[in-house]
Every structure is written in C-alpha cells, then in structure tokens.
C-alpha cells in the first residue's frame, strides 16, 4: 500500500515539468491504401487543437513545438493513425477501417478510447439507432440493442419506470440497476414510487429524466471490468450517456449556428388488456341471493340477452339493459394518450470554443382519466481552450417534471382493481357520468343524507376513483458538471466537479366520504362507503456531488511500444433528506372534506424526516501498454474508503487487468482483404467491492415509532407522553464489503469488409459477502440483522451480430442485426443456517426469494400438492389440497433474451424494425388471481361451470402414503372463488412471462438537399414510428404484459404485477428540421 501511494505521487509529479516553447515546421504526406496522395485528411498535433488538412497531393505543413511530436491523422473511411515525427517529416499510409468495430468509445470516467484497445465488452448505441423507435425514455430506447442488458420498461410510456440490469442480479438488498452516468457524472437514479408494491403509485425513476434527443450516444459497459474505476457504485456495470455538444470549426471562416427543431406527436393506448369470459354475467348463483345487483361477481347465470334491470333503485327508478356480454368493456374506461414533444437545439463553435443549448418540452395526457406527464428541460454545454494550455467546460441540465398518476394495486384508491370488479355484463361506458345518481358515489338526497347510487356495493366507481384519488409528483432537478484542465504535450490533468441535485415533492390525496346506499333494499344497506380521508406528502431533496482529479500521461517508449498512465482521486458525497407527513385515513383522517392541508387533521399528523449520508473517497490508477497497435494491456487498481463501514473494513483495494490482441494485424493478403478484415480477442478480470447501505452497521437505536398491530397502530406521543421504543433491526461494525469478481473473454470480428460484424463475450461473475438484513427470531428481541449473508453467481454469454446482405452504390442498403443474452444466476450459499431470504416485500402466502441452489428472484408460494405428478385433491370436495407450506416455483429472471432487427435504406428513406423477446421467466399476476375470484377470467368457464374431476388427480388415503385415483368432482366456483380467492394457492397466479414484442417500427425520410439547396434549411426529415407496438405472449398469459411491475425500477422484487399500471403501445409522427 505504501509503495502504491508513492507511485501515485511520483506519477503526478512526473507530469509537472516546464516545456520549452521553441517551434519548427513539420512536413508530411498522407497516402491511401493504393499509395495515392490523400487530400483533405485532418492532421492534428496530438493533445492540442493545432491542426491542418492535407492538400490535393496529400501533403501538409504545420508549425509545431520542438521536441517529440505525435500527429493524429483522420480521414473518412480509414483508421485513425498516430505517427511520430521523425526528422521533422511524417509519412502515413492510411488503412481502411472496420466501421463497426473501430473508432472511439466512451469508457469509464468519460474517457474516449479506441475500441481496439479494450479488453472487455462494451456496446455503443448512437443517436440515430437509439431514437429509431422514438420512445420517450432513453433507457427503453436501448431495449434490444445491448447484449447483456435486461431492460424492463414497466409502462412503456412517458414518466414510467425503466429498470436496467447488466449481467444478472447481484445484490439482495441493494439496487441492482446499472450506474447511469451522464457526461462522466453519476446521476441519481432514484425511484419515484411509494414503497408498497401492493398499492403502488409509480412516478418513474430518475434515469428517465434525460431526454433521448439530447443524447449523442450511449455506451454500455456491461461488466465490472469496464467500470472498476467507478468503484462500489459501478459494481453493476454502467450506462454512459454522452450528450450532444457543439463542434469545433477549424475552417478559418466564421462559423454559423446550427439550429435543430424536432416535433414529435405520439398517441398511446394500452398494449394488452386482461381477457374476460363472455358466457356468464353478474351474480353469485352458487351462494347467497342469485340476483345480487350490487355484486362484483360474474358468477351469475348464463347470458340470455333478455332485458333486465340493473343497479340500485333510486327515487323509484332503475336502469334496464339486456343481460349480455359487454365486449371490449375495459377499453371504455381508458382514453387515448397524447404526447407532444418539442425539441430545439442551438450549437456552434470556433477553433477554441464550442457551445450547445437545447430546450425540450413533453406534454402528455395518460390513458387513465386525469393522468398527465409534463416535462421541461434545458441543457447547456460549453467548452473552451484557453491560451495558456488550460481548458474548461461546463455542462448544465435543468429538468422540471410534473405528473399525475393513478394508484395501482389494492385499496379504495386502486383504479384497476375497482375497474376489474365491474362484472362482465355491466357497461363501463355508462358509468362515466358521475353527475348521474346511478353512477354517483356521493350525492345528497332530499333528507340531507349522503348517498351513493353506483351499482357496486363492494367497490367504488372507477371513474370516481380516478377523479378523486389524486397523486402528483413535481420534480426540479439540476445536474451537470464543471471541468478545468491543463494539457500540455503528453500530460493532461483535470479537475471535474459533478452535481445532481433533486427536489421532488409527491402528494397523495384520499377523499373523505361517508355515503349510504340509495337503495336500502336487501343488497346494499350493509355496505356504506366510509373513508375518513387523508393526505400524504413526501418532500425529497437528494444531492449527489462528485469530484474527480485525474492526471494522464502518455509516453511512447519506442516506435512500437507505448504507454498511458492515469491516476485519479475521487470524492463522492451523497446526501438525501426526506420530509414525510401523513394524515393516515386509517388512524387519523381529515376534518373538512376536500381540504388537503396538514392543519385539517383530526389527530396528530405523523411526520418523519429521514436523513441519509453516504460518502466515499478513492484513489485509482490505470496503466495501459500498447505494442504496434496490435497488443494492448490495461492494468487498473482502486482503493476506496467508505463511510458506511467501520474502520478496518472500510478500506478496500481491488485490482483489474485486461488484454486485447488485434490478431488481424498478423494477417495479410487475400484472407484479410476478402474474408476476415478485422479480428480481436480479449480477456479481462476485475473485482469491485461494494459497501453497505448507510447505517446498516449501527446498533438498533430508539425512535418514537408507531406501535403496530396487524392492521392498526398507536402513534406516540401517547396522551402527550413521548414513547421511544428500540428499533427492530440492528447491525454490527464487523460488516464487510461485498465483492464481485468477474472474468470475461470475448472476440470481435468483422468479415467480408464489414458485411458481417459480430461480437461475443462469455463472463463469469461471483459476488461474495452479500450484505442484507436477514430475519432473526423475534425471541431475540429484534426482527432482523444486517450481515454478510452469502454468495451469488452469474454466468452468461452475450452475442451481437450485424449483417449487411445488400449494399449498393445506388444507395440501397439492407442491414439485419440482433443480440442474444443468456445469463444463469445461482444463489450459491447463504450463511447462518439460512436457506433462503426474501427479496423485497412479501404478502401473505407469497414471497420472492433468493434460495440456495436456485436463481435469484424465485417465487415462494403455496401451490397445489402433487404426488408423482398427480394433483392431490380432497376426496370429499374434489378440490386440490394446498401444500402445507410454500414451495419454490421458478424465477422472474428470463432464461434468455434476444432481439432481431432490420434496417432498409434507400437514399433518404429508411425503414426500421426491431423485435425483442424474453423467454423462460414467470410473473405473479394479481389480475389473474382477482379475475379467477370474481369469475371474469376465461378459465372459470371450463365445463360450463359444472363440476368436473380434476385432471389426473389422486387423493391421499387417511394420513398414509397411499394415493388412489380420484373420482370426486369439484365445483369450479369453490375452486376459483374460494380456494384461489382466499389466496390459498398463490402459486396458481404465476404466469409464463415469455413474450415477443415488436419493439420498434419506423419509416423515416430525409428529403434530399437538392430540393432546398438555396433555402435556409440545412436538412429536412420526417417520419412515422411506433414503439412497444405488438405483443405476443405465451398462450397461458391472458392477462398482462409481462413487463409491467409493481416494484418500480429499483425494487428487487420484480416479476410482481399487483394490478400494476398497464403498459402502453405508442405510435406517432415526427418532423426534424435543421437550419
């Protein structure tokens, strides 16, 4: 350690030298592969903006300082060459390059590096590829374009959550999302969701704030090998977003401003509706009164299409309709979503400075009534080169968003649940007018009594819910960075300070209501609608601040051998503060209805103000060696100190190494020219340690927390007496950091002059010492302890391929491309005698767990008991017997993912299509469980609802091990409405999550410039597009888009759809004009 530190100091001081300023004129010639002089090639002195272009003969002259100079030669279609000056002259022969596999790429710390140098896999998606489908989320736009990434876009529409996990889930407790980095600065990818997946309000996540049109490119660093330099934060890989910037103009002429305007109009509707049975309508003929007009059950008689009264009798009147199936009923509730996106950017530059300014607005109305999402953002970037070798840049992005979103899941405020509780024959289109007494939830009758006239006795009118339950989120966010550097010759040092500050206020209104039914005859009086009303507000302030001090030094040791050294220092500060205030309808309540203010409370307002501080500092070094542009070796090391672990455990060092060999440099002749023009093999390994969540190693401590029972709670102060109880979770200072070690090997190949380009990677990750809070027996006095709990492995392959079957000089080009991702996750071991741990929250009879020997995210739920593959039933009822305890039933993780796309372009016209698929995972569908219970699910009509024998069933003889074939018929009603309905078999709500999706389809046309040559227009483009367009699911999935989630983007309990917000199909048109 001592030696390493000294090395840092030496390396730093080595750069601080005084350079002589005498100059001379260098001359040179640039030739193409045939030896002809190449005109117009760019020649710059490496590390400066000093440069020129070659003349018609390929010759150039340039005044340069005395000393050892390197020239960088750039020419369209050729590999960038670096040549050392020899006797004040330079001669360069250009080499044709592989467009796909060469060029530069943004790597960790926002360093540009040549792709050929890298000993690990990265994927770069440029602006045009990224926005081909015009999704409003930059992360959703990546779907199907990055091998190794598991992207889950829950709503697919504006403001929704998008999760991106690279090379598998690695942590039980902490966020598994990749680090999202904008222009070198880590951003705050926080969840704007309520913590409870059972009644979720999903306002999206921080990463979706970045406007896709502002993005120049996204580079995904799949594994820790690529992101080791980010330390703990980069343990899950990184998504590096490079925003657009102004360009230098070295033509000598006065530069003009580039203006781009883009307008996009998108319409949205719901991608997949749950399918309803069409044979039976409202009622419950198997129990109770046949003709319960307030019922939410569709367990009534078969449809007879006869006119029949429905709903309540109000003022002696009742509505009448035919008793028949209402097709497309749910569709009557939702609107078409509209989204108008305007984007303007201004940019320019001269030889010393650049600037870029963009303004973006998104105004959209959601599909659920009253929901909306509005976002405004401004970005400003500028760079300048100062005369004394200093340079600096600034990059600022301000984002303001405001949205209203419906609550999903259970509770009176759950829109989808109240909607699904409308029986199959009740026309939803007729429930809309809340001024009609027949639909009203709260009108005052002639006696002054509050009444509801809505037909349903057990759930409120969904239109009323969507109107009165009002959940909003307002965000102000500033993120950006400031950089100042000094660059001279081979030496470059800069300091960069990045900040992401967020102010986010979310509010949740619960209306006060106390209505009696209008109809006081038999079905309604027991079901008044009562809620004391409530209000919740969460004010979140999040600050992320980073400082990087980085020095680099490039040295050419000999003509063939070079090295680049980098040392850096990073300081990270995270500070989060939240002020939560809650008037809880269950324990408190509003005084005056519709007045949502914390002074309007019946009892004390429950207020908490959690504060969270997390700091790290780190020093790192990276030394790269290259030999003849053929062999590359890269050694990295980082030592990090974290605030969240105790001294002794809070300092950790991890080294990494990777190497690349461009073996085609060894090849010559026909094989290289005609078959394999470029080939590289690479190998890498890296470790990333990851610290604990703040305060996880603290003792329990005391708070004035509410004393909770199953459903109620007592909130201190109690009768004005303060009451502090000890916390239920504790940690220990012995907590060690998590460590992920990864090995990867791969190859990048280009055949037939770039006609076929492919990249393959195999990786093997092992994460040790996972930190999580494990449950401890309550008899210890506590419920959980933070501890190092076990190990998880991820092994897999990433493959991407692109082929160009047709490419003609007339401009016709046909590309096909695809990716394949296969990851095998395994929970290797857990400590302390624990066989499994819950991931995220659980609900009765159902958990998502990490169980030893199983993949992460395995469902753990009660299911039907099986004996030798036969369902075991109860011999008296014929109903399946639930397992005595929950059983493990498959994971939410897909077995593999793939994508397939094609681009067809001819002159300015371009047709693009992209299909994506995930296969082999499962998800929990509460829509299925609920519709089974309600009798609206298609499977409830098997055998016309007459009793039948469970297929291949057996029964147990007494308590023996004897099983005999069963002949007792079961009643479908008892199975679906009781056994499923009472949540005895939650595993039966697991649905195959496999799907194929037409993710993107677009047709764009760039109008040839000849038509507007002498106008102000520089470029004109228009197009039609769709994203998330068509979904094909497994046959057994009649319910949901498997991508929908109730756990937001950050929650680890994915695959859990508890009546989540439906996902959207988006389509529209855009125009783009450049001046």
């Amino acid at each position: 350690m001592k030696r390493l530190c000294l090395l840092f100091v030496l390396l730093l001081s080595a750069g601080i030298q005084v350079f002589a300023q005498n100059t001379h004129t260098a001359t040179g010639k640039v030739t193409d592969e045939k030896g002809q002089g190449y005109p117009g090639a760019g020649v710059t002195l490496k590390g400066t903006h000093t440069g020129t272009v070659t003349d018609v003969n390929g010759d150039f002259m340039l005044d340069v300082p005395d000393g050892d100079n390197i020239f960088v030669i750039q020419a369209v279609g050729y590999q960038t060459a670096e040549v050392r000056e020899a006797d004040q002259a330079v001669n360069v022969k250009l080499q044709v390059k592989s467009k796909e596999l060469e060029g530069t790429v943004v790597t960790a710390l926002a360093m540009n590096r040549e792709k050929r140098e890298l000993g690990y896999n990265t994927t770069t998606v440029n602006a045009e590829e990224l926005t081909a489908g015009q999704n409003s989320s930059a992360l959703t736009d990546l779907q199907g374009k990055v091998a190794g990434a598991d992207i889950t876009s829950s709503t697919g529409g504006p403001g929704g959550s998008t999760r991106i996990v690279l090379r598998g889930e690695k942590s039980i407790l902490k966020d598994n999302n990749a680090l999202i980095i904008v222009d070198g600065v880590i951003t705050n990818n926080y969840d704007r969701t309520l913590a409870n997946p059972l009644s979720q309000v999903d306002f999206g996540n921080g990463a979706n704030d970045i406007d896709p049109d502002e993005i120049e490119s996204i580079t995904v660093l799949e594994g820790p090998a690529a992101s080791a330099l980010y330390g703990a934060a980069g343990a899950n890989g990184a998504v590096m977003i490079t925003t657009k910037a102004g360009k230098h103009n070295t033509s000598g002429k006065k530069s003009k401003m580039d203006i781009t305007y883009k307008a996009t109009y998108t319409q949205s509707d719901i991608l997949k509706y749950p399918q309803m049975q069409s044979q039976f309508g409202q009622g419950a003929i198997y129990t109770g009164p046949v003709d319960d007009r307030g019922d939410n059950f569709s367990w009534g008689p078969a449809f007879d299409n006869q006119l029949k009264p429905w709903g309540q009798v109000i003022d002696g009147k009742q509505q009448v309709k035919p008793y028949s199936f209402e097709p497309n009923n749910l569709q009557q509730f939702y609107n078409h979503g509209n989204d108008l996106n305007n984007f303007v950017s201004l940019s320019g530059g001269n030889d010393l400075s650049t600037y870029y300014l963009s303004i973006n607005s998104v105004n959209s109305d959601g599909v659920t009534p009253n929901t909306f999402y509005n976002k405004y953002s401004v970005r400003f970037n500028a760079t300048t080169q100062l005369s004394n070798n200093f340079y600096s840049s600034i990059n600022v992005n301000y984002i303001n968003s405001y949205s209203r979103v419906e609550q999903s899941g259970q509770g009176q405020g759950g829109v989808l649940q109240s909607l699904l509780q409308v029986p199959t024959d009740i026309p939803i289109s007729q429930l809309k007018n809340l001024n009609s007494k027949f639909n009203s939830m709260d009108y005052i009758d002639t006696a002054g009594i509050h009444r509801y006239g809505y037909f349903g006795a057990y759930s409120p009118n969904p239109f009323w819910v969507a109107d009165y339950y009002d959940n909003r989120d307002k965000t102000d966010r500033v993120l950006g960075d400031f950089k100042i550097g000094y660059k001279k010759g081979d030496f470059n040092v800069f300091e960069r300070v990045g900040v992401d500050g967020t102010d986010d206020v979310s509010s949740y209104k619960t209306p006060q209501i106390n209505s009696q039914s209008a109809d006081q005859s038999i079905y309604y009086p027991s079901y008044p609608v009562i809620n004391t009303g409530g209000y919740q507000q969460n004010n979140y302030t999040g600050l992320r601040a980073y400082s990087d001090l980085i020095g680099t030094y490039t040295h050419t040791l000999s003509e063939n051998f070079g090295m680049t050294a980098l040392v850096g220092n990073n300081v990270t500060m995270i500070h989060d503060e939240t002020l939560n205030a809650y008037i809880n309808p269950a324990s408190n309540g509003l005084v005056i209805p519709s007045f949502y203010n914390f002074t309007n409370n019946q009892g004390p307002v429950y207020v908490t103000n959690p504060v969270l501080d997390h700091r790290t500092y780190a020093m790192y070094a990276d030394v790269k060696f290259n030999y003849q542009r053929e062999l590359y070796l890269d050694l990295t090391g980082r030592n990090e100190w974290s605030s969240t672990l105790a001294p002794g455990n809070n300092s950790y060092f991890y080294p990494g190494a990777n190497a690349a060999w461009v073996f085609t440099e060894r090849l010559h002749g026909n094989f290289k020219d005609k078959v394999l023009d470029y080939g590289k093999v690479r190998i890498g390994t890296a470790g990333v340690s990851s610290d604990a969540l703040p305060y996880a190693n603290n003792p329990a401590g005391y708070t004035q927390a509410p004393i909770a029972t199953g459903f109620g709670n007592i909130q201190p102060p109690f009768n004005s007496v303060p009451a502090y109880s000890i916390g239920s979770t504790f940690g220990a200072s012995t907590l060690k950091p998590e460590l992920t070690r990864e090995y990867e090997v791969g190859a990048d190949l280009s055949f037939l002059k770039d006609r076929i380009v492919t990249s393959f990677t195999y990786y093997n990750d092992f994460t040790h010492n996972l930190i999580t809070a494990i449950p401890v027996p309550p008899s210890t006095g506590y419920s959980s302890e933070y501890t190092n709990v076990g190990d998880i492995s991820n092994k897999g392959e990433e493959l991407s391929i692109r082929g160009t079957p047709i490419s003609t000089k007339y401009g016709l080009k046909w590309d096909i491309f695809g990716t394949y991702t296969h990851n095998v996750n395994d929970v290797e071991s857990l400590n302390g005698g624990v066989s499994q741990l819950a991931v995220g929250s659980t609900f009765q009879g159902m958990a998502i767990v990490a169980a030893v020997g199983h993949p992460y995210g395995t469902f753990y739920a009660s299911d039907i008991t099986y004996w030798n593959g036969h369902a075991v039933v109860d011999p008296t009822t014929g109903l399946p017997v639930p397992t005595s305890k929950p059983v493990l039933r498959g994971s939410f993780l897909p077995k593999f993912q793939a994508s397939w796309g094609t681009d067809l372009s001819y002159k300015g016209l371009k047709l693009h299509a992209l299909f994506v698929t995930k296969q082999g995972g499962q998800f929990y569908s509460e829509n299925k469980a609920l519709m089974d219970f309600l009798g609206s699910a298609p499977e409830t009509v098997a055998n016309n609802r007459n009793p039948y024998v469970w297929q291949n069933s057996v029964y147990q003889v007494g308590t023996t091990n004897n099983y005999l074939p069963n002949t007792t018929k079961f009643s479908p009603y008892n199975y679906y409405a009781n056994e499923i309905g009472q949540n005895d078999l939650p595993a039966q709500a697991l649905v195959n999550a496999s799907y194929i999706k037409l993710q993107e389809l677009s047709l764009g046309y760039k109008i040839p410039q000849k038509y507007y040559k002498n106008t102000i227009f520089g470029s004109l483009e228009a197009g039609l597009f769709g994203n998330n367009l068509i979904l094909w699911t497994a046959k057994s999935n009649k319910y949901d888009d498997p991508e929908e989630t109730s756990s937001g983007a950050i929650g680890n309990a994915q695959g859990f759809n508890y009546n989540a917000r439906p996902s959207l199909r988006n389509y529209g048109a855009y125009i783009k004009v450049m001046f």
């Binding site: 605030s643 109620g712 709670n713 004005s720 502090y724 000890i726 210890t780």
Partner: protein
C-alpha cells in the same frame, strides 16, 4: 509509519478539495434518524404500549373467540381460521413479535435504570417483564427465556435463543417479582409520573400489582405443582400482602386522540371498519339465562331489542344485519362506533384479584372461610368497574344492578359455601369468566384451560379438528424458519405445562 504515509497522501489530495480531515469526512455513519440512548421516561410508556397492543388486540381476539365470548361474523372472514381451530402459524406472528419486543424494551429499560440507579424504574421493568413472559409462556408453552432478548452485540448476540421449559420460565417470573419487591421496598425519590401509563408512578399500587401477579402465577401452577403453589402462596400471605382492590385496576386508557385509539378499534379501523367480531351464543345464552345486566355493557342489543348470539363458529349463511348482538364499544368491539376508541385495555383488574383471593381461600391455602365474601366482592368489583357504563346503558347504579343480579337467582350466583372445593371453584371461575367477558379474553381462556370452567363450552361448528378444543398458540414461522433451536411444530391441541385437563 505506514499508516501515516497512507493517510498523509490521501489527505494531501483531499486537502486540495477543501476537505479538512479524511477521518472527519467519512465520519457520517451514525444514524441520525434514531437516538442511540433513550431515557427511562420515554422507554417505559413505549414498552407498556406494546403490552397493551398485544393484550388489547391479538390476545383479546384469539382469547375471546376461544373463550367463546365472540365468534366470527359469518358475513366476513378475518378470523375464520381461529373458528376452524386451524389457524396458520402466522396468525400468532404479531403477538409473539410484539410481546418479545415489549420484553426487549423492558430488558433495556432495566439496564438503563440500573446504570442510573433509578430503582423504581428497575422494579416496574422487572414486574412488567414478568407479566409479559407469563403471557408468552401461557400462550405458547416452552419459549426462549434465559437466552431471549439478547440479539444485539452488546447483549451477547444470541441469534438462536434456546427454548426453556415452562417451569423454568415460571421460576424466572417468580424470581423477577421477588427482585422487584426488594427494589419497591426502597424509598427512592425518583418515581415515574405520567410516563407510567398504568399507575402514574404510584408505587403503592405497583406493590399491589406485584403481589397480585405473584398470586396469579402461583395459582396457575395449582394443578401441575400444587405443593409449590401452596407453599408460595403461604409465604406470600405471610408477608401481609396488599392486593389489587377496587380502584387499583391495572389498565391502559385510550382514545386521547385519533392516533391513540383503543388498539382493537385501531385494528378494526385498519380493516375498514368491518364488523368481524360478533357475540357468541355460548356467552349470550348463559348470560341471558341469568338476566345478567352486564350484557348491556359487554354487547349491543339487536335491532329487535334484547341480546342474541351466533352459534360458535357458525358459517353456513349470513344472518340479516341487526339480528344478532355485537361486542359493545365499552370493550372496543363495535367496529362502527367511534366510542370504541375509549375502551381501556385491562392487564390485571380488581375483580380478577378478588377472584384469585377467593380461590386461595376456597382451597384453604390461606385466609380460610373468606371465600364466599371474596366471591361476592369480586362480582361487585366487576359491576363497580363498569358503573359508569351500567348507568348509561341501563340507568341503574352498580350496586342496584349487582343486587338485582344476585337476587335473580340465576345459575352460578349463589355461592356454595358448604360445598366441596371443586364445586366452589366451579362458581368462582365461572363467575370470573362472566366478569372478564370481552375485556380479559386471554386470561379467561387460560383459566378455562387450567380449571375447565365454565363447563358449557361447545365445539366450534366450523372445527376441522373434530371434537377438540385448541389449547395453545402456534409458534410463528419467523421462529421456525430462523431459530436453529426451534423445538418443532406443536399443534394447537398440545397442552401447555400447567394444563392438565
């Protein structure tokens, strides 16, 4: 030296950024959202509230259903599995967790008070921990005791506490009461005030609590260890003990504001004010046959007037609303009446104390010949406890109502002074059961398990274990899945140690 160079280099780099000291920079990991040390004044009420919520919600519901005061409304289903005598293990998760949390808080309170020489707080924490552990062991039998509550590192980090036999737990409880008694006898100037939610720091009443608790603990051993029980009680009486009398009832009052509701009512409001609990015919019929005026306190009348119950565990159809009684707001049982919020949670009452004393006398273990008088005092204490409620419900004074009841000549009313001990016990415990209707459900169920009185319990109509009664709670799954010393599943039909019936 090595360390100095390292931190020196680091600090050099940090210094450039204006960070003065690296150690200071990283020293932000003390959780600012909790306080590391509470005060005795804040810890005592929190621990008492945890006991109140357990006794007031889960033990009250489970006890009152299994003591056949209440039954599940056939139109709803929240407590159906208790009526089926087939509850899942996690029906008992909340009381197990909250009672151990309460005990943990009393344990921490004891340590804190000890370190600050606050003897009265030490005494109260010992008594309340003893009281809490009796609830735990009476519910679940063998439970972690000697190794329990020691999860944190400072308390030796025992994550798999061993289970102790119930006798060991009882011995520990008695030892704690004895220790508390010694502390109580001092004249420490520091006493609790309003932070003691039970007695407001009145140490004379804690002394009575201590004696009554000891009496109750010994009497619970009357079947399994009669000699020990008798000797213990004799020793207790030899110290001229004062027991809880009228006005000394140990209870926690609720309803001070909407966030301080009676815990049963808070539970009901959390369940959307659904009336899950209704009157059981077992209790209603027996009280009706006695013309018991206390029906007016414990239950609401039906729409037609009068009191009517639903047969225990009946679930075949939903009777019309208003055709049966529901538990009243005086016991926090009416889910739709706001006055349920004010119902107290009884921990140990004057009538309980008097019935215990009557039993001692009837058994001849102390105070011979006083049993008849104590029996009537106990009934009277129960009427007295509800005098305000009786006046408002019936317009009668407690004394008048009591007199009318005793004069009514109902069953279990005329004490058999000349009868056998068994006969006397049947009167004492059955009357105790009437008195505890819906206000001390768990204690009534425990006394029924110990003595078999009342004798007229019926099997739940939805029992799926046939003609059997549940005799214990189940260990929750948090215990069975995480404690390597978990002794294995014990079904509800396995009796606890002192239950020999």
């Amino acid at each position: 030296m090595k360390r100095n160079i390292r931190s020196g280099v680091v600090c050099l780099m940090l210094a450039a950024l204006g960070v003065s000291s690296c150690k200071k920079f990283l020293n932000v990991n003390t959780n600012p959202n909790v306080v590391q040390t509470a005060t005795v004044q804040t810890l005592l009420p929190a621990a008492q509230l945890l006991v109140g919520s357990s006794v007031g919600v889960d033990l009250q519901i489970d006890g009152s259903i299994w003591a056949q005061y209440w039954t599940q409304d056939p139109g709803a289903s929240q407590y159906r599995s208790l009526e089926q005598y087939a509850p899942g293990q996690d029906v008992f998760l909340t009381p197990w967790t909250n009672l151990y949390a309460a005990a943990e808080n009393f344990f921490q309170l004891y340590k804190l008070a000890d370190s600050q020489k606050k003897k009265q707080y030490m005494a109260i924490s010992l008594l309340m921990k003893a009281y809490t552990f009796q609830l735990i062991t009476d519910g679940w039998g063998d439970v972690p005791y000697r190794q329990a509550l020691k999860g944190q590192y400072v308390d030796s980090n025992i994550l798999n506490p061993k289970y102790d036999s119930q006798r060991v737990v009882y011995n520990g409880i008695i030892a704690d009461i004895d220790s508390a008694n010694k502390l109580l006898s001092t004249t420490d100037p520091v006493t609790p005030g309003t932070d003691d939610l039970i007695y407001g720091g009145k140490m004379a009443q804690w002394k009575k609590f201590s004696n009554t608790l000891k009496l109750k603990v010994y009497l619970r051993m009357s079947q399994v260890s009669p000699a020990t029980a008798q000797a213990g009680i004799a020793a207790l009486y030899a110290s001229s003990p004062v027991f809880i009398g009228v006005g000394d009832d140990a209870f926690i009052g609720y309803g001070y504001n909407s966030a301080n509701k009676n815990p049963l009512y808070a539970e009901e409001s959390g369940l959307g004010y659904v009336q899950n609990l209704v009157a059981s015919a077992t209790c209603i019929d027996s009280m009706n046959s006695n013309n018991d005026p206390r029906l007016n306190i414990f239950y609401d009348t039906t729409a037609a007037g009068g009191f009517s119950g639903i047969a225990q565990g009946y679930e075949k159809a939903t009777p019309a609303a208003g055709s049966f009684s529901i538990p009243s707001s005086y016991v926090g049982g009416n889910a739709q009446s706001a006055s349920s919020t004010n119902a107290p949670v009884n921990l140990m009452t004057s009538y309980e104390s008097l019935f215990l004393q009557a039993e001692v006398s009837a058994r001849g273990w102390a105070n011979p010949g006083m049993d008849s008088s104590l029996f009537y005092q106990a009934i009277n204490a129960n009427f007295n406890y509800y005098s305000t409620q009786l006046a408002s419900a019936t317009g009668m004074t407690a004394a008048a109502a009591d007199a009318a009841y005793l004069a009514g000549g109902g069953y279990w009313v005329t004490y058999p002074s000349a009868g056998s001990v068994t006969q006397k016990l049947s009167y004492i415990i059955t009357q105790k059961w009437f008195a505890m209707c819906g206000n001390q459900g768990f204690e009534a169920w425990s006394e029924w398990r110990r003595t078999g009185y009342p004798t007229f319990f019926v099997y739940s109509q939805s029992s799926i274990i046939g003609d059997n009664f549940p005799k214990r709670f189940l260990y929750p799954t948090t215990e069975s899945t995480t404690n390597s010393n978990y002794p294995g599943f014990a079904p509800t039909t396995t009796k606890v140690w002192w239950d020999l019936l």
